[in-house]
């Protein structure tokens, strides 16, 4: 509680003895936009897997709005209000962007509700609005498999918003995008940050600088340091894990 939307305590995840996440503590304020960075293998994606329920923690607990997430399955956690965007865009290829969004924003996700009800007018209006926001109104009715990579990225962010979650987990939203597209996605995320709590995993430092005010650095499954972009960039431990110890020494000298 007390303004924390996400709290993680002493989290450890081990796969056959290998600790992908090692005694990690983390918390996210309501309405905050946080960027998580870290070298390859730091455990960033596993971290998201644990929050969304795909992987169960070996030790430690994850609290979302004060509720322990351990007993819940992925779809229950999603319904509680955690939305996730994947590293490579995962949209439903054979469905159109409009259908993709309608599916994500449906209020009732049970079998019989979807058997008997058509989309409500409110839902249809939400979807039309979202299509404008993500810039795909003209391609709304062709199969999503024909969209370009950047369009799929935007569509998936749209699907996330359609779920109207309280917390958005966004995994590398600008991987493989042009500079122009990157900036668009950045603006989109900043606009979303006004009404949502967002956690972004990213490698692209330019992009991180564009959107972040607080950055968390993961290394070998634990939090290495946390702070503003400038603080983090001048931290010698961060330089060491990213560039190797030599660089850290020459920086210090």
């Amino acid at each position: 509680m007390n303004g924390k939307i996400l709290e993680i305590q002493n989290l450890t995840v081990s796969f056959d003895g290998f600790k992908a996440i090692n005694n990690l503590n983390f918390s996210l304020d309501e309405g905050e936009l946080r960027v998580v960075i870290g070298p390859n293998g730091a455990g960033k994606t596993t971290f998201m897997d644990v929050i969304t329920g795909k992987t169960k923690p070996t030790e430690g607990e994850v609290y979302f709005k004060g509720r322990n997430l351990r007993p819940y399955a992925e779809h229950e956690i999603a319904r509680m209000g955690i939305g996730r965007k994947f590293q490579t865009p995962r949209v439903y290829q054979k469905l159109t962007p409009r259908e993709n969004l309608t599916l994500s924003c449906a209020q009732n996700k049970g079998v019989f509700a979807n058997l008997l009800q058509a989309a409500s007018t409110a839902e249809r209006r939400t979807v039309a609005g979202l299509l404008e926001t993500i810039g795909l109104p003209l391609k709304a009715d062709i199969p999503a498999e024909l969209l370009s990579h950047g369009e799929k990225q935007r569509l998936e962010i749209g699907m996330l918003v359609a779920q109207s979650p309280d917390l958005l987990l966004v995994d590398e939203p600008v991987a493989g995008l042009t500079d122009e597209e990157t900036e668009k996605v950045g603006d989109l995320l900043l606009a979303l940050a006004k009404s949502h709590s967002i956690m972004v995993i990213e490698h692209d430092m330019e992009f991180v600088r564009q959107i972040a005010n607080r950055v968390t650095v993961l290394h070998q499954g634990s939090v290495l340091c946390e702070g503003t972009m400038d603080e983090v960039q001048s931290d010698s431990r961060v330089i060491e894990v990213y560039l190797g110890s030599d660089a850290a020494e020459s920086q210090a000298a």
Partner: protein, 407 residues
């Protein structure tokens, strides 16, 4: 069955999606489809039997009736495999359950106090208790649908809840099939084991089941149930549920993160598909005169899948066409070359896999169209994605002279 009218609504076809057509256009294509389906059904009921009898091929009517019944089972496979991506290799179970349920009712059409003849062979003098409800026609009719559906729902729930998918699911259905086969095959004292249950000498409504009058009723029922099954599957796959099924097929784990629990959906369609197979089994049994554990032969369950693959997955009409084409090819070819049918079937499957991966209907909708176009002298330039269907290109074409085009 309506030729071509369904095409504009399927999700397979790029560029056109049901929901976004102008409502009037959509309603018109729906009217066309319903009209076409009813037209074909009337043709099958009123014209074809007399036509076949007139040209001395009366025996084909019974075959057609049986194959139409099989097409109902093919529809069920298309629903779960074509749309939802569940490849069941065990639908013989549900087919046989439906067939046995109806056959048990027919076996019990005896003067009071008697029990079916075969029991005496094994020294059974009292009717096993589970036969008793099958004295009732309403119970039997419900059982034909409900027993396969319930068995499928239980089996499906256990499998899907544990997130068993893909090839593991297929193997499990096949294993279940073998379990059921061995049970039915071995229990002489309960259901006459390997000899199965005969239905053609029983009486129903004062007529022998093999009587032409009753047979033509079963033929008409096959057509009607096929029509109903088609309408049901079409309804299930065209609305929201259909989109969800396709999404489950394409990326099930992703669905969970969108807040959907795929288990319920999969159990639901698996049960529907089993119920269709049950109806198919009952109608097939009364038209062929016997049901034996052979209906749970591994090969038969795989054949249903072949029919759907040949006709075209996720097209529904393709499943019906595939069932009819393969079965008639089998009958006609085995009459001509009795020893060679299996080779033909193997070759047919190889052709589908290598040349027509989307089946006959899938081919017709893409390459077939282009081929016809090139024959009529209107060849088309192929682009990916097709420029002609790209809405942004069309938008720019329309607005070339419009100052707002560069927005």
């Amino acid at each position: 069955m309506p030729k071509g009218t369904g095409m504009t609504i399927e999700t397979v076809e790029p560029g056109v999606a049901g929901e976004q057509l102008i409502p009037r256009q959509r309603r018109r294509s729906l009217v066309w489809e319903i009209g076409g389906a009813i037209g074909v059904a009337l043709l099958l009921i009123l014209v074809l039997p007399f036509l076949l009898t007139a040209i001395g091929q009366g025996v084909r009517v019974n075959q057609l009736g049986r194959f139409l019944a099989l097409a109902i089972a093919a529809l069920g496979i298309d629903l779960i495999w074509g749309f939802t991506g569940l490849l069941s290799l065990g639908h013989g179970i549900f087919f046989a359950l439906g067939g046995y349920a109806f056959a048990m009712y027919l076996q019990l059409q005896l003067p009071t106090g008697q029990i079916p003849d075969f029991f005496q062979l094994y020294g059974v003098s009292q009717l096993p208790a589970f036969w008793l409800p099958f004295y009732s026609l309403p119970f039997t009719l419900i059982a034909v649908v409900a027993i396969p559906a319930i068995v499928a729902a239980i089996l499906g729930y256990l499998v899907f809840r544990n997130r068993i998918r893909g090839v593991y699911f297929s193997i499990l259905t096949q294993a279940a099939l073998i379990v059921f086969f061995n049970f039915f095959n071995g229990q002489q004292k309960l259901i006459n084991g390997t000899n199965g249950l005969k239905t053609d000498t029983s009486t129903l409504f004062g007529l022998q089941v093999s009587d032409p009058k009753l047979q033509s009723v079963f033929y008409i029922l096959s057509v009607l149930f096929l029509l109903g099954g088609y309408a049901l599957c079409r309804w299930l796959t065209s609305g929201r549920l259909g989109r969800i099924l396709v999404a489950i097929r394409d990326d099930e784990p992703r669905m969970r993160f969108s807040g959907y629990n795929p288990t319920g959906y999969k159990v639901f369609v698996f049960a529907i598909s089993a119920a269709l197979a049950g109806v198919a089994g009952a109608l097939y049994t009364v038209q062929s005169g016997i049901i034996t554990p052979k209906a749970m032969d591994v090969a038969f369950s795989i054949e249903i899948v072949i029919w759907v693959a040949l006709g075209g997955r996720a097209t529904l009409i393709g499943a019906i066409l595939g069932a009819l084409i393969v079965n008639f090819a089998r009958t006609i070819l085995s009459e001509q070359f009795p020893a060679f049918w299996l080779f033909f079937q193997g070759a047919l499957f190889l052709v589908v896999v290598t040349v027509l991966p989307n089946g006959i209907l899938g081919w017709l909708r893409t390459d077939g169209m282009n081929w016809v176009r090139s024959l009529t002298g209107r060849p088309q330039l192929e682009t990916y994605p097709s420029l002609e269907t790209d809405p942004e290109v069309q938008y720019e074409r329309e607005n070339l002279r419009n100052s707002e085009s560069d927005r």
